[in-house]
Symmetry: D4
Subunit: 225 residues, 8 copies
C-alpha cells in the first residue's frame, strides 16, 4: 500500500486520497471543532483534493456563518446541519429515505445531504410510521425502484422490520433519539432494529444520518456500476 497523501494541520491530519480509496469524499465532522478549525479543514481539503468540492456535517450556526463568510456561495442545509463548498457532484441512482415521524426529519435530512455530497440521488417520504400501517403499504410499490432504502425511526423503531419484509432491497436502519423515558435516547429503537425479525436490515449508530448516507451511496454506486 503506497501511503495516502495527508494534509497535516497539526490539530488534524486530513486524508486527501479518501475518495480515491473508499469512494466517499472526506467529510469534516464539525461537532468537536471550532468554527476556525472547520474552515481551515475545508480549505485544506479544497486545495488538496482531486475534486473541487468539500463539505462539513454537524455544523452549528456560528460555524455556518464562518463558512459563508469565507465562501459566499457555500450552500448550507440548515435542517441537516451540513454545509457544501464548491461543486456538488451530479447525482446517479436513487435512494429512498423514509421517516417514521415528523421529529425524525433532521436525521433524514443528514442522510439526504450525505447522499448529495456523495453524488447519489435521493427521494424522501416522511411520517409513515407503523401506527398507521396503510401509510407504509402506500410506499410499498416504490421500494423496488430504489437502489437502497434508508429507514429513519425513533421511539419503538419498528418501521424497518415491516419495510424489509416488503422488498428485496437492502434496508439501512437509522435509530433516532426521538422519544422519552424508556426510549433511552434512542437505545430502544437501536435494539429493535438490531433484532429485527426480517432479514435484510443493517443498522448504524443512533442519529447517524451521515453513516447511513455513505452506506446507501456505496450500495447505489455499486448497483449503478
Amino acid at each position: 500500500m503506497s501511503a495516502p497523501r495527508t494534509a497535516d494541520l497539526g490539530f488534524a491530519r486530513l486524508d486527501l486520497d479518501r475518495e480515491a480509496r473508499t469512494g466517499t469524499p472526506e467529510v469534516i465532522f464539525a461537532a468537536g471543532k471550532t468554527a476556525d478549525q472547520t474552515v481551515a479543514c475545508l480549505a485544506a481539503l479544497l486545495e488538496g483534493s482531486p475534486t473541487p468540492f468539500a463539505w462539513a456535517s454537524r455544523v452549528d450556526g456560528a460555524t455556518a456563518a464562518a463558512i459563508r463568510e469565507r465562501w459566499p456561495d457555500a450552500v448550507v442545509d440548515e435542517e441537516a446541519g451540513c454545509a457544501f463548498v464548491g461543486a456538488v457532484p451530479d447525482p446517479v441512482g436513487e435512494v429512498l429515505v423514509l421517516t417514521a415521524g415528523t421529529s425524525d426529519g433532521p436525521v433524514a435530512a443528514e442522510v439526504a445531504a450525505t447522499l448529495r455530497a456523495c453524488g447519489v440521488g435521493c427521494r424522501r417520504v416522511d411520517d409513515v410510521g407503523v401506527a398507521g400501517i396503510h401509510r407504509v403499504l402506500a410506499v410499498a410499490p416504490d421500494l423496488g425502484a430504489a437502489d437502497a432504502v434508508v429507514v429513519v425511526a425513533g421511539m419503538d423503531g419498528a418501521l424497518p422490520s415491516v419495510v424489509a419484509g416488503l422488498t428485496d432491497r437492502l434496508v439501512v436502519a437509522v435509530p433516532t433519539s426521538v422519544g422519552y423515558g424508556a426510549a433511552f435516547e434512542g437505545l430502544a429503537a437501536l435494539l429493535t432494529m438490531l433484532t429485527a425479525c426480517a432479514p435484510g436490515v443493517l443498522v448504524v449508530n443512533i442519529d447517524n444520518g451521515f453513516g447511513a448516507g455513505v452506506a446507501a451511496a456505496r450500495i447505489a454506486r455499486s448497483a449503478q456500476r
Copy 2:
C-alpha cells in the same frame, strides 16, 4: 376494610378472599416452591376458597407429577406449565391472543391457561409477525370481535405497535425472552413495547403470560358486565 381470611401454612400465607376482592382466583406460583409446598398450597386453597377450584403456574415435571398423584383428575397444560385442580369455570367473553413467532408459543399458552382459570374465553392465532405484514392484516377483521387483544412477541417486539393502530381494543403486550444477542433476554422487546408509537398498548413483564391473562380477563369481565 375487614381483614381478609388467610390460610397460614408457615412458609406461605394464602389469600382466601382474593377472588372476592380482586375478581381473580389466587394462583400458586410454583417456580420458587418444592413440589410438596405447591401441593400443600393447592390443597389449602381448595379447602378454604369459596369456589371448588385451584391452580398453579410455572409447574415443572416433578411438581406436575405430584399434583396428579394427589388429584388424579387434575388437568396439566404442559405447553403452558400450568395445572388445574377441581372445576374449571365456564368461559365468558373472548380474548384474542396473537404471537409473532412459533417460539413465543409457551408464553401464549400461559396467557390462555390463565384466561381459562379466570373463566374467560380465548382464541389464539400464532406466527403473525410483522416481517410478513400480510399475516397481520389477515387478522385485522377479527380484532373488533374480541374484548381485548393480547400480543406476545420476542426479538424486535414490533407487533403490538402495528396491531394497536388497527383496532379500538386495548392491546396487552407481552415481551418474550425469545431471541439472542441484542435481544438481551427480552429487554429489546420490552423497550419496543413501552415506546410503541401507537397508543392503546399496555405492557407486562417479560414472559409474564400470567399477568397478561389476568389483565385481559379483567377487561373482558368488565366489558361483559
Copy 3:
C-alpha cells in the same frame, strides 16, 4: 382494508380516520415540532376530521401562545401541557387517577387531559404514597366505583402493587421520572411496576400520561358499551 384518509402536510401525514378506526382521536405530539407545525397539524385535523375537535400534548409556552393566537377560545391546560381546540367531547364513565406524591402532578394532569379529550370522566386524588399506607386505605372504598384506576408514581413506584391487591379493576401504572440517584430517571419505578407482585397491573412508558389516558379511556368506553 380500505385505505384510511390521510392529510399530507409534507412533514406530517395525519391520520383522519384514526378515531373511527381506534376509538381515540389523533393527537398532535408537539414536543418534536415547531409552533407553526403544531398549528398547521391542528388546523388540518379540524378540517379533515369527522368531529369538530383537535388537541395537542407536550405543548410548551411558545406553542400554546401560537395556538391561542390562531384559535382564541382554545383551552390550554398548563399543568398538563395540553391544548384543546374546538368542542371537547362530553364525558362518559369515570377513571380514578391516583398519585404517590405531589411531584407526580404534571403526569397525572396529562392523564386527566387525555381522558378529557377522549370523552371519559376523571377523578383525581393526589399524594397517597405507601409511606403513609393509611392514605392508600382511605381511597380503597372508591376503587370499585371506577371503570379503571390509573396510578402515577415515581421514586420506588410501589403504589400500584398495593392498589392492585385491593380491587378487581384494571390498574394502569405510570412510572414517573420523579426522584434522583438510583431512581435513574424513572427506571426504578418502571422496573417495580413491571415486577409488581400483584396481578392486574399494566404498565406504560415513563412519564407517559397520554398513553395511560388512552388505555384507560378504552377500558372505560368498553365497560360503558
Copy 4:
C-alpha cells in the same frame, strides 16, 4: 493501632481479633473455597479465637459433610446454607425478620442464622407481601417490640417502603434475586429499596442475608447496651 492477630494459612489470612474489634465474629464465606479450605479455616478460627465458636456461610452439601465429619456435633442449617461449630452464643434482644413471599425463605434463613451466630434473638414471619396489604398490617403491632426489622423481598421489592412508614425502628432491606424478566436477578428490588419513599430504610446487597444479619445484630446490641 496495635496490629490485630492473624492466622496465616497461605491461601487465607484469618482475622482472629475481628470480634473484639467489630463486635461480630469472623465468618468463613465458603462459596469460593474448597471443602478442605473451609474446614481448615474453621479449625484455625476455633483454635485462635477468644471464644470457642466458629461458623461458615454459603456452605454446600459437600462442605457440610466435611464439616460434620471433622466436628460431629456441628449444627448445619440447610435452608440457610450455614454451619456452626462449637458453642453458639446465647441470644440477647430481638430482631423481626419479614419476607414478602415464600421464595424469599432461604435468604431470610441466612439472616436468622447470622443473628444466631452473633448472639441476637430473631422472630420470623413469612409471606406478608404488599399484594395482600392486610398481611402487612397484621404484623404492624409487633414492629415496636423489635430492636430492628429486616425485610426480605424480591420481585417489586415494595415491602420495606410500607413497613418503614409504620414504625420508628430501623428497617434493613434485603433485595432478593426472586423473580424473572425485568426483575433482572434482583436489580428491580434493589432499586426499589434504594429509592424507598419512606425514610428509615437501609439496603444491603442482593441476597445478602449475612450482611443484613450482622447489621441488625449491631443495632440490637447497641440498643441492649
Copy 5:
C-alpha cells in the same frame, strides 16, 4: 391501626402523626414543589404537628427566600439546602459523619442538617479518603465514641469498606454523584458500597443525605433509650 391525622392541601396530604409513629418529623422535600407549595406545607405542618417545628430539604434560593419572608427567624443551611422553621430540638447522642473528599461536602451537610432536625448530635470530619490511608487511621480512635458512623463518598466509594473493618458501630454509607466517566453519576460508588467486603455497612440512595441522617438518628435514639 387508627388512621393518622392528615392535613389535606389538595396537591399534598401531610402526615401530621409521622413523628409519633416513626420517631422522625415529616420533612417537606422541596425539589418537586414550587416555593409557594413548600411554604404552604411548612405552615400546615407547624399548625398541625404536636411539636412547634417544621423543616424542608432540597431548598433552592427562591424557596429559601420565600421561607425567610414568611418566617423571618427561619434558619437556612445553604451548604445543605435545608431550612428550619420554629424550635430546633435539642440534640442527644452523637453521630460521626466522614467524607472521602471535599466535593462530598454538600451531601454530608444534608446528613448533618437532618440529624439536627431529628434532635441528634453530629460531629463531622472531612476529606479522609483512602488514597491517604493515614487520614482514615487518624479517625479510628473516635469511631467507638459515636452511636453510628455515616460515611459519605463518591468516585470509588471505597471508604466505608475500610471504616467498617475498624469498628463495631453500624456504618451508614452514602454514595455521592461526585466523579466523572465510569463513576456514572454515583453508580460506581453505590455498587462498591453494596458489595463492601466488610459487614456492618448499610447503604442509601446516591446523594441521599436525608435518608442517611434519618437512619443514623434512629440508631442513635435507640442507643440512647
Copy 6:
C-alpha cells in the same frame, strides 16, 4: 398488494412467496422449534415454494439427525449449524468474509452457509485481527474484488473500522459473543462497530451470521444485476 401465499401449520405460518418478494428464500430458524417442527416446516417449504430447495439455521444435533432421516441427501454444515435440503442454488458474485480470531469461526460459517443458500459466492479468510495489523494489510488488495465484505469479530470488535478505511466496498460488521468480562457477551464489540470511526460500516445483531449473509447477498445480487 395481493396477499402472499402462506402454508399454515398451526404452530407456524410459512411465507411461500418470500423469495419472490424479498429475493431471499425463507429460512427455518430451528433454535426455538422441536426437531419435528423443523422437519415439518422444511417439508412444507419444499412442497410450496417455487424452487426445490429449503434450509434451516441454528440446527442442533438432534434436529440434524431428524433432517437426515427424512432427506438422506440433505447437507449439514456442522460448523455453521445449518442444513440444506434439495438443490442448492448456483453461486453468482463473491463476498469476502473475514474473521478477527479463530473463535469467531462458527459465526463466519453461518455467514458462508447463508450466502450459499442465497446463491452467492463466498471467500473466507480467518484470524486477521488488528493486534497483528500486517494480517489486515495482507488482505487489503483483495477487498476491491469482492461485491461486499463481511467482517466477523468479538472482543474489541475493532477490525471493521480498519477494513472500512481501506476499501470502497460496503462492510457488514458482525459482532460476536467471543470474549469475557467487559466483552459482556458481545456488547463491547457491538458498540465498537456502531461507533466505528470509518463510514461504510453497517451492523447486525451479535452472532447474527444469518442476517449478515442475507444482507451481503442482497448487495452482491444488486451489483451483479
Copy 7:
C-alpha cells in the same frame, strides 16, 4: 508507617508528603471546589511541600482568573484546563501521546500537562485514528523511542489495539467521551479498550488524562532510574 504530614484546611486535608511517598506531586482537583478553595489549597501546598511547586486540574475560567490574581506568574494551560504555580520541574524521559481524532485534543492536553507537572517529557501526535491506518503506521517507527505510549481515543476506541500490536512499550489507553449515540459518553471506547485483542494495554477512566499522565510518568521515571 510514620503518619504523613497533613495540612488541615477544614474542608480539605492536604497530603504534604504525597510526592515523597508516591513520587507524584499532590494535585488540586478543582472541579468540585470554589475558586477560593482551590487558591487556598494551592497556597497551603506551596507552603507545606518540600518543592516550590503546586498545580491544579479541571480549572475553569473563574478559577484560572483567581489563580492568576494571586500568583501573577502562574501558567494556565487552557486546552488542558490546568494551572501551574511556582517552578515547573525539568523533564526527564519521554512519553509519546497519540490521539485518534481532533476532538480528543483536550484530554491529550491534560495528559501532557500532567506529565509536565510530574517532570516527564512529552511528544504529542494528533489525529492518527485507524480509519486511515497509514497514519498509525507512520508513527510506528517512533514507538520504540518512548518510555511509554498514551493513546487517547473516543468513538470506537480502536486505536490502542492496533498500537499495542506494534510495540513492546506499555500502552496506557484513555477512552474519551467524544462521540454520540451508542458511544454512550465514552462507554463504547472504554469497553473496547478493556477488551483489546492485543495485550500490553492498560486502561484509565473516561476522559482521565490526569490518571494516564501520572501512570505514564511513573513508568518513565522507572525506566530512567
Copy 8:
C-alpha cells in the same frame, strides 16, 4: 514495516515475530479452541519461533491432557489453567501480586503464570483485603522493592485505591468476577478501580490475569533495562 512472519494453519494465523516486535511471546488462548487446535498451535509456535518455548492459557482438563500426551514434559499450572511447553525463560526483576481474598486466587495464578512465561519474577501475597486494613499495611514496606504491583480483587474492588496511595510503583488493577448480586460478575470491582481516588492505578478486563501479567512484565523489563 517489513511483514512479520506468520504460520498459517487455516483456522489460525500465528504471529511468529510477536516476541521480537512486542517483547512478549505469543500465547495460545485455548478457551475458544478444540484441544487439537491448541496442540497444533503450540507445535507451530515451537517450530517457528526463535525461542524454544510456547505456552497456552485458559486450558481445561481435556486440553491439558492432550498437551501432556504430545509433550510429556510439559508443565501444567492447574490453579492458573496454563500450560508451558519447552524451556521456560529465566526470570529477571520482580512483580508483587496481591489478592484481596482467597477466591481471587485463580486469577492471581494466571498473573503469575504469565510473568513466568514472560521471564519475570513474581512474589504473591494472598488475602490482604481492606476489611482488615492492618493486612494491607503489613505489606506496605515490600511495595518499594517491586518493579510493579498487581492487585487482584473482586467484590468492592477497593484494594488498589489503598495500595496506590502507599507507593510510587505502578499499580495494575485486576477486577475479578468474585462476588454476587450487585457485584454484577465483576462490574462493581471494575468501576471501583476505574474511579480509584488514588492516581497510579491502571486497569485491565475482569479476570484478565494474562493482560495484567503482560503489562507488569513490560514494566519490569523496562525498569531492568
